[in-house]
Subunit: 359 residues, 2 copies
């Protein structure tokens, strides 16, 4: 549903409609000039040739250092989603189970199903502030469980689970002999400080993206940190699909890391201001969890999110994503906070109006 909406909105735009795209988690500011300049320099230097499938050693070494791993544990991928896809292809066979925490990013579920695996979404509750229930998690792990996916901060809620809960989950996975994938796409831009780069461990797979923190969505640059067995398989799969990520794009990634703190802080500040602006409009009108990181709000609408989506798109040319796209959360919707405050405030007002009208 998420991707059908994305493609539909792109088509509407190409047909000349102006849409406020709160459906897509994409910064509206340009890629940081440091990254742009590094890419252009590399293109001009002719870094446009075939290259290592695993990725440029310099970039891999830099990332390895952040995650307390070696460069042999790192694979550069065209976006983190591609990496997550091939990690699942590597680990899962038909009938295997993957534990997700719902609401969850649509791609986790779609990819697991693509390989015939069964996504087991553990439904977390808005009223409980999305708290993890370890007893329930332990019961959900069976002999068929091959992978736990943990996306902290969470897309779509922007909720942050405290480090104690995350570490407890990592330990539980280890105890049960199950891999855990930490998707860190929103970690660098958390409003409250959490370690941006979790430490690599043998049973921990880390995926991260340059898209959100550095405004590099369309560049398609991400990475996987994993044990050498998984890395070897990712390289083999890369050899028969995309080959390498363009070297000049990897150079932009190195420039992003060179300026990490500055760029992440900028994204964090912009996102925080936007979240606050939306909160001001929504508070008292719609229920929501206060976001712990940038990019998303996941309000509880008190009615069918799909109806609200349709009305908002038809009447106001504002695109949301119905909660259904993220699991059994029909009454919710995801808003991407990727426009200036004035537009977001207006969109939130229209959301409140729409809900009142449809009630």
């Amino acid at each position: 549903m998420l991707y059908k909406i994305t493609e539909k909105i792109f088509e509407m735009e190409q047909a000349g409609h102006r849409i406020v795209k709160l459906n897509i988690g994409e910064p509206d500011w340009p890629t940081a000039p440091e990254c742009v300049e590094a890419a252009i320099k590399a293109i001009k230097e002719g870094k446009t040739k075939y290259a290592s499938v695993q990725g440029q050693k310099e970039l891999r070494e830099r990332l390895a250092q952040l995650h307390e791993a070696t460069s042999e544990n790192v694979v550069i991928t065209p976006g983190s989603k591609y990496g997550i896809n091939y990690v699942m292809k590597t680990l899962l066979k038909k009938g295997d189970e993957v534990i997700l925490f719902s609401p969850h990013w649509t791609a986790f579920e779609l990819i697991a199903k693509e390989y015939g695996a069964i996504p087991k979404g553990i439904s977390l509750s808005f009223n409980d502030n999305w708290k993890l229930d370890f007893e329930k998690i332990e019961k959900t792990i069976t002999k068929k469980t091959k992978l736990i996916i943990f996306n902290n901060p969470c897309n779509p809620t922007s909720h942050i689970w405290p480090m104690e809960e995350e570490n407890r989950l990592i330990d539980l996975a280890k105890k049960k002999g199950v891999y855990i994938l930490l998707d860190c796409a929103y970690r660098g831009i958390a409003f409250t400080k959490i370690p941006a780069h979790p430490a690599y461990q043998e049973h921990v797979i880390i995926t991260d993206s340059f898209s959100k923190t550095f405004g590099m969505t369309g560049w398609r640059l991400g990475y996987v940190v994993a044990n050498e067995k998984i890395v070897k398989e990712l390289v083999r799969l890369g050899q028969i699909s995309v080959t390498n990520v363009p070297v000049f794009i990897q150079e932009a990634g190195i420039a992003a890391l060179d300026n990490y703190e500055k760029l992440a802080e900028k994204t964090r500040l912009i996102s925080k201001k936007r979240a606050d602006a939306c909160i001001k409009v929504l508070r008292g009108n719609v229920e929501f969890t206060t976001p712990g990181a940038g990019f998303y709000l996941f309000p509880k609408l008190g009615m069918d999110g799909e109806k609200v989506f349709e009305e908002m798109l038809a009447k106001h040319k504002i695109a949301l994503v119905p909660g259904k796209a993220f699991g059994n959360y029909k009454e919710f919707a995801r808003l991407s906070l990727t426009y200036p405050e004035s537009i977001l405030e207006d969109a939130c007002k229209k959301l409140v109006e729409t809900i009142e009208k449809l009630r």
Copy 2:
């Protein structure tokens, strides 16, 4: 084997060895300035955002026109290999058969096997000048045959089959109700004029690459032309893997098409001169088929190609690919003609010496 060698050579280079890489089909000249400029312009204009999974409409329309299709038949892919991979994922299930013409590009076989399909290589003969035997082909097609792959001009031989043979094969596939994939990666740079862009038909899948004709190997840009059912599935798979090819790379592709004739002619002339230089050294010493297109020579060494590969790499730091990588062609080796003539002449001399020494 092909990709293990590629990765090994990259590693040797990163460790400081200087290798003459006749193992990889990559132009040694820079990407055409028209493409470089278009990409840089697009980056500066901020065309660095998420975009359509299917690809930019302008590029798709241009390609559709070349292949007598509509833009709805075209998907832009990060390299043609990725496209070929996902076409096979779409069409094949376990136990299905794929017909290849051997010697064949390694990736066809590896990808088919990846999806549990059985590659049925029809061995063509050097002594017969790689002629297609239609009786044999017809016999090889069974109820399990889902796909015929035809790579004209051929990697690794650079042989060109005449259009009558290609059309006969396309008609045979239609008669048998089997898809045929035309991999056109070397078609734009054929020495003898053949139609660079075959016409799309319902049962014909066309894949092509910007890598060879325009010196764009490391950019990862290719495309698939296919019926809407296949396109829809490729888009679905893209949504859960790479998302989009960077728009600025697609803009470089549009610039390449704007300058098609000029750039293809340049590649053709350089490649022809190099092939001629090699032929001069090899003639009378080693048997080979005269190449009909750029990039590869596939000499018959009269001995184990792997031994020749090892000796050439160890002694002369020249990398080839043993014929075994392309099917049951142990006595052959593939040389990529992607260096200036003087280096190629020297490499060919060393090849002749090595053969004489090992004989």
